[in-house]
Amino acid sequence: MSAIQQDRSDALVELRQAKKHFVITKGLIRRTRRLVRAVDNVSLTIARGETLGLVGESGSGKTTLARLVPRLARLDGGTVLFDGSNVHHAGKDDLKAFRRRMGIVFQDPASSLCPRWTVRKSIERPLVLAGRSQAEIKRRVAETVELVNLGEELLDRFPHQLSGGQQQRASIARALVLQPELLILDEPTSALDVSVQAQILNLLLDLQHEFGLTYLFITHNLSVVRYLADRVGVMYLGKLVEVAPTDELYRQPLHPYSAALLSASPPLDPRLRYRERYRLAGDPPSLVNPPSGCALHPRCPACQEHCTVVTPELVELHPGRWVACHRAVELYLPSEAGR
């Protein structure tokens, strides 16, 4: 499962030079227009049946990128293909059909379920909108809640009467009820306790195994992504800086930012407290005014003059290993395995 190549014929989702920009206006008469490049020229393929993990810090554009797939945000350039068809050129009915093949689970289950609806009503809603019969709705809801281990007695309660883990199971049930091919998971366990997180992660693995689901999994937690993802994309300031099979990324990161993320992530072993760390200087820069050249250059320990001027492209350095760094060939970056 781990050696999934970027075979185009196998692609369920494909982003080609996708761009999403936001315009910031300031002041009473809304002048001083500035551009935030939330997703900046990102090309990425998700193969059928694989889990692609998307990691990066807040503001790196992970969520915006994910929203482009079901067209919850409009592209400002490039294309997004789902099963070979252009989602952003689809007509109203085609778009609905696309969206029925995708499910989304958000970070905070308490706010993504309607507080005034029973859990049953929330889970039924996609089926109702899809015009399914009463009998089918009843059958699908029963099947789905069993799949996600949500007790049927919880269906007639309101979200606030459920625990965080139960709420997240309900959200997953709602996302699965139309039997989608793709599940977009935006930090689905970040708000949960460790023991509940483990239950949800195992559930996601089981569901994928059983139905061959494709996952786009967004997280800032590198241990979680390692447990779940076949490949990982690392984002920084709207750009994809590295894409690699998960085990290879952890064994040998090629981008300084990936190395810094891995190095900052606590290893769960007090003996490794004084390990050599690969550190970035300072805070992430503002998206409104990103640095010239490589966006990481003001913080990067490996920065050279060239980096401050020329933006590196994402290139395939080794088979399956994509990296956007001028110095990727010559750097030998610390890895998890080196601990």
Binding site: S195, H220, S265, L280, D283
Partner: protein
């Protein structure tokens, strides 16, 4: 003994002592609600030594934050401290008058919170807010400002003099947490309570803040009580750890001992629920069931209903603490044998 951060000679001496700084003894906190009494903290005892980082760790609702608030005497109504002692040196903070307690906060014990944007005042400049803290010590304004800028340097804010003039919304999340930390250490407290100080931050910024706390501890000799749900954070900075479950400490140990060989079944399961392997390399353990209601005090061990090693006696009496070597404590009837 009050230490100034610049007094490194005194600081290094303090690090080596393991004199008790804060002693919490038999602390119980309840919240009286319309549906009954919630026993949020039950008979919690621990000690934070000078120059030590002590972690209270547990999942949501285990009582760790309420314990921290009780130490500061900031438990919000309808919560009330029912019994226990909170000794700072030889003073019991729970017996002080409100005015006396107000003087203790910030001067002797300071606290930083999870979300600095909420804790900082949005309409005052960062430097002014730190200056305000320093002014409590009756120093002249210009002296307090100088100290505020100095402290901002100590919490590694670059261009401190410039940043002192920034409003909180102009600062990044990591920077705000530094400002709050700066405010709290500006009066050189002996104890810093940090309640989930890095939970809202990105991982590279979290690493910077944890480094900063370690550095401050080393330079000033202050004790740090860190409250967190994150076993990764605990592994990075704690010297000793207490694990809480359903309002009670279930295990206490040195950090290496705890990670090498957790003794309480809850701690063991928690450690195995943490993802440390790649896809297909294993499966996470989960803890069946859910956290018990804290409305009724449990008859037996609060973890028994979820415990894979449960025996009949676990449901009869709540386990006493078993003391093991090296200051280890575990509240389990199977103490010391649970790992077998």
């Amino acid at each position: 003994m009050r230490l100034s951060p610049s007094d490194s000679r005194a600081a290094s001496a303090a690090v080596e002592t393991d004199a008790g700084l804060l002693t919490v003894e038999g602390l119980s906190v309840s919240f009286i609600t319309g549906r009954g009494r919630v026993h949020a903290v039950r008979d919690v005892s621990f000690e934070v030594r000078e120059g030590e980082v002590f972690a209270l760790v547990g999942e949501s609702g285990c009582g760790k934050s309420t314990t921290a608030l009780a130490i500061m005497r900031l438990v919000p109504p309808p919560g009330a401290i029912e019994q226990g002692q909170v000794l700072l040196g030889d003073r019991d903070l729970l017996t002080l008058t409100n005015d006396e307690m107000a003087a203790v906060r910030g001067r002797d014990v300071a606290m930083i919170f999870q979300n600095p944007l909420v804790a900082l005042n949005p309409v005052y400049r960062a430097g002014v807010q730190i200056q305000e803290a320093v002014l409590q010590d009756n120093v002249p304004r210009h002296e307090a400002w100088r100290r505020a800028v100095e402290v901002m340097g100590q919490v590694r804010i670059s261009d401190a003099a410039l940043r002192a003039d920034s409003y909180p919304h102009e600062l990044s999340g990591g920077m705000r947490q530094r400002v709050m930390t700066g405010m709290m250490i500006s009066r050189s407290p002996r104890l810093l309570i940090a309640d989930e100080p890095t939970t809202a931050l990105d991982v590279t910024i979290q690493a910077q803040i944890l480094d900063l706390l370690m550095d401050l501890r080393r330079r000033t000799g202050m004790g740090i009580l860190i409250i967190t749900h994150d076993l990764g954070v605990v592994a990075e900075i704690a010297d000793r750890v207490a694990v809480m479950y359903a309002g009670r400490i279930v295990e206490q140990a040195g950090v290496t001992e705890l990670y090498d060989a957790p003794l309480h079944p809850y701690t063991q399961l928690l450690m195995r629920a943490l993802p440390r392997m790649g896809k297909g390399e294993g499966r996470l353990e989960t803890i069946s069931g859910s956290v018990p209601s804290l409305m009724a005090e449990p008859l037996g061990c609060a973890f028994a209903p979820r415990c894979p090693l449960r025996q009949d006696r676990c449901e009869q009496g709540e386990p006493e603490y078993t003391r093991l070597g090296g200051g280890r404590l575990v509240a389990c009837h199977l103490a010391g044998r649970a790992g077998e």
